[in-house]
Structure formats: structure tokens, C-alpha cells
């Protein structure tokens, strides 16, 4: 036996210590599985918790986008946004994603397919309640704005930022693209081994009971090598999101990739339209069923999101009282 084989054998013998002493009953496990499957079918049939959870996810998508956009949805985050160069988000490009494509990307994420090695240096999203807007400003460095027309917020929280790095593996990235129905040959050879670094900054969330929520955070940074062609990568990202190749090319040519963030919108749950808010152009998001909605915009290097569980039509008027 060679030294290497001996080392492998010794290691495997050490790992034997991890084996379970006894196995659970397969019969009981299968009975439990059947019960869980029946319960999950019932939830879907009743349009209950699973659909509500997905709707909340859709409405809160922009919130996740603002503060943890690149860490909430593995396949989308890694392909759509991580290739967009060193920039601060200046505007959004909403892109519809169909239920079928969403399911495909979810499955690929569950299977662990990724375009490279993702390292999260600091996990974003930790929430800390604070007592005042000035305290929130001190913790985040923001000049915190508020919705004066709603009065004092009932809750103020600071949401921690984070950062991570993606080292691109061209083979894996192409495999992911192919599995997602996109053209893997779009990706140029020179991105192999390239590192993309993403930083999401701390933000402030203000709530007025459960009716209105106002989020603000500095725009995320994405840092990528200069020799990477952002337009081509953007076109690849659009295809992964399910955009037809010709349309993806047309959109990619017309987007200013130096400052635009792709915003995947699940088409079965949410509609979007461009809207004027706070003196700039933003996006209004509304669920296809039920109440609630959000306004999303960027101004002076800060991303804002104003959301409601009530009537979306009131949001533009509410937003007028931002101070």
C-alpha cells in the first residue's frame, strides 16, 4: 500500500467515529414523509401559507434587493448581478421571470449548481432595533430620511450589511447557463478565475405599525476585473432569467451597465411600472392578487423602498412627504 493509500485509509478509519449507532425506522420515516407531503399539498390547494409566503417574498423582494440583493437567491444573484462591474446602482432594470424559469433556477440552486466558488466574508441582514433616527444615522453613516406625513415611526431598525466574493469557474458557469436554458458560449474565456466582489451596506428600516415600511441603504458596490465585458455578461444574465436570446441582446445593448441593477420580478406574482417619485424615476411593484405594494428608487447614491400592506395607490402621495 502506498503512503497515499495508507493516509486515505487512516482518514477513513477516523471518520468511522462519526457513524450513527443506530438507524431510524424507515417505516416510521416514510409514514412521516407521507404526512408532510399531504400537508404541503393541502396548503397549496387552500391558497394558504405557501402562497402567502411567496407573495410576501415577492413584495419583500425589493427590500431584499436593496439590502441583501446578491445573497437572497443563489442562482439569480450569482449570475444576474455579480457581473456588473464596479459601480454604484443608479437605476433599476426590472426583468420579468416566468414561474417555469423561477422553478428551474430554484432547482439548480437546490442541486448546488453555482458559477464558481462563493465566499461570504460577512453575512448581511442582522437586525438591530434602535431608539431614534439619529442613532440609526450614527450606526449606518446615512443621513436618515423619514416619511414626515406618517408621523414618528413605531419601530426603527438597523439592518447589517455584508460582503462576499465570487471566484468564477468558467466550466461551472457554462454548465449553469446550459442547465438554465441559456447559451453557454456567450461567456468569454477571460472570465475564468475572475473574482467579483460585492459589498452591501447597512441600511435603516422604519415602520409605522404594520401598514408602512420605509427602507434606505447606500447603493451596493460590485467590483469586477476591467477586462470583463459587462454587456456580454449582462446578456448572459438576461438569458439565465429566461429572456429570449434576441431580446436579451437588444436589452443588453440599451442598458447602461455601469450603473444599472437587474431586478428579476416573478411575473406570476408581481407587476411593475415606471413611476416618478422623490424627483427621480423609480419602479412601482404591485402584487397581482391582494393588497400591498412597494415603490423603489435610487437617489444620490441611496436606494429607497417604501412599501405598504394596504392600498398601493396611496404610496406616491405618502412618498411626497419624505424629508
Amino acid at each position: 500500500m502506498s503512503n497515499e493509500e495508507k493516509e486515505i485509509q487512516e482518514t477513513l478509519e477516523q471518520l468511522a467515529a462519526l457513524a450513527p449507532a443506530q438507524m431510524p425506522s424507515k417505516t416510521a420515516a416514510f409514514a412521516r414523509l407521507q404526512s408532510d407531503i399531504r400537508n404541503s399539498k393541502s396548503e397549496i390547494t387552500n391558497g394558504g401559507s405557501i402562497m402567502n409566503r411567496r407573495r410576501t417574498l415577492a413584495i419583500g423582494f425589493a427590500a431584499v434587493l436593496v439590502l441583501t440583493v446578491l445573497f437572497s437567491f443563489p442562482a439569480v444573484r450569482a449570475t444576474a448581478s455579480d457581473f456588473l462591474g464596479l459601480f454604484r446602482v443608479q437605476k433599476f432594470a426590472p426583468i420579468s421571470i416566468s414561474p417555469g424559469q423561477l422553478a428551474t433556477l430554484e432547482q439548480l440552486a437546490e442541486e448546488g449548481m453555482a458559477p464558481g466558488e462563493l465566499t461570504i466574508n460577512h453575512e448581511p441582514g442582522a437586525i438591530t432595533p434602535v431608539g431614534s433616527l439619529s442613532e440609526a444615522g450614527l450606526q449606518t453613516g446615512l443621513t436618515v430620511r423619514t416619511i414626515a406625513g406618517l408621523g414618528d415611526p413605531t419601530e426603527i431598525k438597523v439592518i447589517d450589511g455584508g460582503d462576499g466574493r465570487l471566484k468564477i469557474d468558467l466550466t461551472a458557469a457554462r454548465a449553469l447557463m446550459e442547465a438554465a436554458g441559456a447559451d453557454p458560449t456567450l461567456l468569454p474565456d477571460n472570465i475564468d478565475g475572475a473574482s467579483v466582489h460585492v459589498t452591501v451596506f447597512p441600511g435603516v428600516q422604519q415602520s409605522w405599525s404594520e401598514e408602512y415600511t420605509f427602507l434606505q441603504a447606500p447603493s451596493p458596490w460590485v467590483d469586477y476585473p476591467e477586462n470583463v465585458d459587462a454587456q456580454i455578461i449582462g446578456e448572459a444574465a438576461l438569458q439565465v432569467l429566461g429572456t429570449e436570446p434576441r431580446e436579451a441582446r437588444r436589452i443588453a445593448k440599451n442598458i447602461d451597465w455601469a450603473g444599472t441593477l437587474l431586478m428579476p420580478i416573478p411575473s406570476e406574482m408581481v407587476t411593475y411600472r415606471e413611476i416618478s417619485v422623490d424627483g427621480v424615476s423609480g419602479v412601482a411593484l404591485e402584487p397581482l392578487d391582494g393588497d400591498g405594494g412597494a415603490l423603489l428608487w435610487q437617489k444620490d447614491g441611496v436606494i429607497y423602498m417604501l412599501s405598504t400592506q394596504g392600498d398601493t395607490a396611496e404610496l406616491p402621495e405618502v412618498a411626497k412627504s419624505i424629508r
Partner: protein
């Protein structure tokens, strides 16, 4: 008695045959659970995670278009890949609650025997801590090989060329040795 292949069972499951799903479950449950237990070291958690893996399998078999396209794929490789990811996701959730260097909590009621010595429990915790320091693919290869998976099965689950498994195992063992000595020296 004829044993149906995983692919044939999958085909029957897609036609609504629950007995075939139970057969697939029985065939793979022990190894899925065993892999998860080795990762997380806790029986209840490993059982919960195993349930999640098979629920995912059930849900994906109902997405006929996707699984028809992927029918030629190795279903067992898919299962162990998903199980490994589930185990690592669970470990990441733990690390968000605890300090990064905390030793994982040993199974209170059913680790390897009530008569297990303190030294044996410490060794188990040490081995698990070493595994946590290795890249996921290296840890997965070592665990699957230790569980008796063939080189071909390891290759399929880890998405590597079958011919490279030996070399990758050797590197993984060397990395394990290095981390083990580092941890032992720290203590």
C-alpha cells in the same frame, strides 16, 4: 426477484405510483440519513434534513418536464448532492447562531452508545470540527468513501471525473490530516 433501476422507479413515480416512491425511499434512506448524521452529528436534525431531501425529490418528480429532461441523470447522485447541501446549509445556520469555533453539540441521546467515553466523544467532536474546515467537496468525498460508496458513485455525486477520485481523495486525506493536527495542537 427483479429489482427495478432508479430510472425505472422514477418513471413510475412520475405516473403516480406511490409504491415506487416508497421503493426509492427505502433504497436510499439509510445512506442519505447516514451522510446527514455524519455531517450534523444530531439524530433529530439528521432525520429532519433527510425528510426535507425526500420531500424535494417528491416535489421535483412532479415537475415532469424537468425530470424528463434529466432522466438520464443519476438520481442517487442527485440525492446525495442535495443531502450534502442540506447538511451544510444546516451547519451554516448553526454558525449564525453560535460562535464560529464552537464544537458542534454531540447527540445527547444516541450517539455511538451510552457507554461512549468522554475521550471518544471529544474525538468525534474533533473529527467533525476538522471536516467543517475542509472544502465541501473534499469533506463529501471522504464521507461518502468512508460510507462505502464506490468511486463511480462518489464521482457522480461530487460531479468530478471518475478517474480523478483517487487523486482527490488523496488530497482530501492530506488536508484532513493537516487540519486535524492544527486542531489537536490548539487544544
Amino acid at each position: 426477484m427483479t429489482t427495478l433501476s432508479d430510472s425505472l422507479l422514477l418513471e413510475r413515480i412520475q405516473q403516480g405510483d406511490i409504491d415506487s416512491f416508497e421503493a426509492l425511499f427505502s433504497r436510499h434512506y439509510d445512506r442519505v440519513y447516514g451522510l446527514l448524521y455524519r455531517l450534523v452529528g444530531n439524530r433529530a436534525e439528521a432525520e429532519d434534513l433527510a425528510q426535507e431531501v425526500f420531500i424535494k425529490l417528491y416535489k421535483h418528480t412532479s415537475r415532469r418536464r424537468l425530470f424528463r429532461l434529466n432522466r438520464q441523470q443519476n438520481i442517487s447522485a442527485w440525492l446525495y448532492r442535495v443531502a450534502t447541501n442540506a447538511g451544510y446549509d444546516a451547519l451554516k445556520m448553526r454558525k449564525r447562531r453560535w460562535q464560529r469555533d464552537t464544537m458542534l453539540v454531540p447527540d445527547p441521546a444516541g450517539g455511538p452508545g451510552a457507554e461512549q467515553t468522554v475521550a471518544a466523544q471529544e474525538e468525534q467532536a474533533r473529527v467533525r470540527a476538522v471536516l467543517a474546515r475542509l472544502p465541501q467537496r473534499q469533506a463529501q468525498l471522504l464521507l461518502m468513501r468512508q460510507m462505502g460508496f464506490s468511486y463511480a458513485e462518489c464521482a457522480a455525486a461530487c460531479e468530478v471525473a471518475p478517474g480523478s477520485v483517487g487523486t482527490l481523495l488523496s488530497r482530501a486525506a492530506a488536508a484532513f490530516r493537516k487540519e486535524y493536527e492544527a486542531i489537536a495542537n490548539d487544544q
